[in-house]
């Protein structure tokens, strides 16, 4: 028995990634990172800004996501997200722009703790991308 399962990453405009030979996916769920292997129990969760790592036999891929929903069921992992890009083709300008817009948002007074936490986190992740 192989220990592979399927992954589908879709954004509203198109299907972003679809593979059937991954053996582990790490997703940045809102309450911490989750590693998903084959035969994980069905789960629904949503994402915070972070990096999705997809491991297959031949390669490892990383994607930055801002938000989204994940569903794992019958050995298929579906990720629905409106903002995603491959770390390999990360656009430096876009990243730094996102950082500055997130920081601008942070400096406003009227945001609640949860939002502040998410924004802080986003800045952190984006900065780590721009360093690499």
């Amino acid at each position: 028995m192989s220990n592979h399962f399927n992954i589908d990453i879709v954004n509203p405009e198109q299907s972003f990634l679809s593979k059937d030979n991954v053996f582990e996916v790490v997703i940045p769920a809102v309450e911490g990172e989750i590693g998903i292997l084959k035969d994980h129990i069905p789960i629904i969760s949503f994402l915070k800004p972070g990096i999705i790592r997809v491991f297959s036999e031949s390669e490892e891929q990383s994607f930055y996501v801002e938000d989204g929903i994940v569903e794992f069921k019958d050995n298929t992992l579906s990720v629905l997200t409106s903002s995603i890009f491959d770390l390999k083709d990360a656009d430096k300008n876009f990243v730094s722009e996102s950082i500055s817009s997130a920081e601008a948002e942070l400096s406003k007074d009227n945001i609640d703790d949860q939002k502040r936490f998410l924004l802080n986190h986003k800045v952190e992740v984006l900065k780590s991308i721009s360093i690499n």
Partner: protein, 293 residues
Amino acid sequence: MPSLDDLRKRITSVKSTQKITKAMKMVAAAKLRKAQENAEKGRPYSEKMNNVILNLSKSITDKENAPKLLVGTGEEKVHLCIVLTADRGLCGGFNTNIIKKAKSYFEKIISENKTLKIITVGSKGYDQLKRQYKSYIVENISFKESKNINYFDADKVGKIIIEKFEKNEFDVCAIFYNKFKNVITQIPQEQQIVPLNEDKDDKDGSDNDNDYEFEPDEDEILSNLLPKNISTQIFKAMLENSASEQGSRMTAMDNATRNAGELVDRLTIEYNRSRQAAITKELIEIISGAESL
């Protein structure tokens, strides 16, 4: 009887109109293919979203405390209608059909003494509705500047709806758009998005015993998911609409080209006849002039 010169002018004018409609038809055909592709690409997202929500709402036991976006406010007094139309004309009955559908819904609401609020997306809808329903229109959005349909625009509309809902400005929300069936047929649709209509609910009843693990709990996921779903529905409607618009324009322009062709044929016959008549007349004049000599 128009003179020969008049006829010639008319024929040229109809011919140049025909050229325009022909070009528009071809442009629409090219755009249609793209719009159709986009609509198809966007389908998995909205389908998956629907599935997740379906699974979630099944597992919610406490219907009383469920998020209001799902179950509604419990009242049906204020109706918000989102009318999605095109920004351009010359696409046959496309805009008119949506408006017609929307108007009959509006009349029903008004006759039931409920409050009606309208948001128009696309300038053609606004133009057609402002005459009769000006006082009900609360917002008028147009995405003329954006070349392609993108999720960002749909999200903007979605956010406006959520904001209004949170301020308790409406109880029920419905969207109007054209569903793309094929190039010739587009069906005007009315779809209720708040509260969520569970009409397709028992399609796969076997999934009922699927126990999901939720992280965090169902309520939180749902309240995070439902606003997204609204944007997704709007986006889906916009995609369908754009495919329908191009399809409808293509058919309309095809008809126009054909009609122009018929008109040219008729005018040409008339032109030839009157030219022949003129020649015959001159001949008769010459002959009878010669005879009288």
